[in-house]
């Protein structure tokens, strides 16, 4: 079952991905696969790092390995944001 991704999170994921891959933003669509975007394993690591910084989350190795396209990536990020402990008051 897929997570519903907020427009704001999706937009930030697309932007982070485009910046990391040095791609025009319009080329990075939710439907695009990593293969279509020419993202190899090393690129993937850089993207995960950029997303961790962008959203202040920790992406576990095992869930990162399963991601194949932009939508899955955004869903995974959204899930981690939901799971993130609330900041201490």
């Amino acid at each position: 079952m897929s997570e519903s991704v907020s427009p704001e999170v999706l937009e930030r994921v697309l932007r982070t991905l485009a910046e990391t891959q040095k791609l025009p933003l319009e080329q990075v669509t939710p439907e695009a696969t990593f293969e279509q975007l020419n993202i190899d394993s090393l690129d993937g690591i850089n993207i995960l790092f950029a997303l961790e910084n962008e959203f202040n989350i920790n992406i576990p190795d095992e869930s990162a390995r399963l991601v194949r396209d932009v939508r899955q990536l955004a869903e995974g990020v959204q899930k981690l944001i939901y799971e993130k402990p609330a900041p201490a008051a």
Binding site: Q21, K22, L42, I45, N46, L48, F49, E52, N53, N58
Partner: protein
Amino acid sequence: MTRRVAITGVGCVSALGNTAPEFWAACLAGKSGISQIGGFDMTGVRFQNGAQAHGFDASRHFDGKQLIPLDRFAQLAIVAAREALAQAQLELTDDERSRAAIVTGSCYGGKTSEDAGFAALYRDAQPRIHPMTIPRLMANAGASALTVELGWQGPVWTVSTACSSANHAIGQAFWLVRHGLADVALTGGSEAPFTYGSLKAWEALRVVSPDTCRPFSKGRNGMVLGEGAGMLVLEPLDRALARGATVIAEIAGFGMGADAHHITQPSAAGAARALRLALADAQLTPEAIGVVNAHGTGTAANDVTESAAIRDVFAGNLQDLRVTASKSLHGHALGASAALEAVATVLGLQAQRVIPTANFLERDPECDVPLCLEQQPWDHAAAVSNSFAFGGLNAVLVFTRKLGRPQSPVPSLS
């Protein structure tokens, strides 16, 4: 199989410019690249001057994505290598490409990336550091990136022997080509040591000059750090001549040895031994040598022991010898230094000139060598380039001008 080895391309990036011709013009002019260190806050560092490659703009050579896994030291190596290869105009067969060698030297590897990552972790309490930190910091990063760029699949490795790294690298690449283990080789060294952490480490060792590098001069007060890369293309002389390549010079010999004496104090005996081994490897006597590109760091200790070694080995021809110390111009670029000095030495052989030692104040009786202070025409058939590293690891190269090495008997090792 033993073959004569030609140098058919050189490239370098340094404080003296972004290309070998710029480097050579500054060497001839005695124009030192030492200036105020920039790029980060130098507050609290006792020395302020260095020889940075201020003119190097990575974005002119790489697109943004190419740069992600490349530390500055690897960028410098690649750019210098491209220049050397463009000059050599090699056209390799598939078989030659499968055996083509790359041997590089670097003292520090990707120190800039490592330092930035550790500052983020330790100082800024960041939870993570850049995922390319490991590929950036490995000392073979430049060599490995070049294999991908060129498709060269032969012996490729990186030597790390502090200030002798590039001479050890060039010497081993030379032996690969001389003995038929590779048909062509790309070799040299690169270094990018300007990080706050490494400058503080040098400061603590108390060997860095507060003003400038004055090799063999009275009043010298230490070395000045530099950065850059030098690369040379090597191939058998016969191959170079057959394809009509321009032969800049030949490498004729390499000698290396260890002082087995002290971790930082140099030894004149160890330096002299490496010089004699290099001459023996080149089958030349000391009288054949017209120029010494000295290790010449400008530290109290090195210049005295190196002077003693030079006076010992070249006792019979000091009047026909000129010593030059180009670190006064391009700084001490650690693992790249010997590569920059190799480029200076072979361009000197090609031009039949000897380059000046800058920043000289007055003669030091403890450094009594025939030091060149003004560039001059100098008829010389052969030159040596010295590198003597911390840890007592000495490496000396012998170069000859392209017309052919002078005939002389094999020297005896004493």
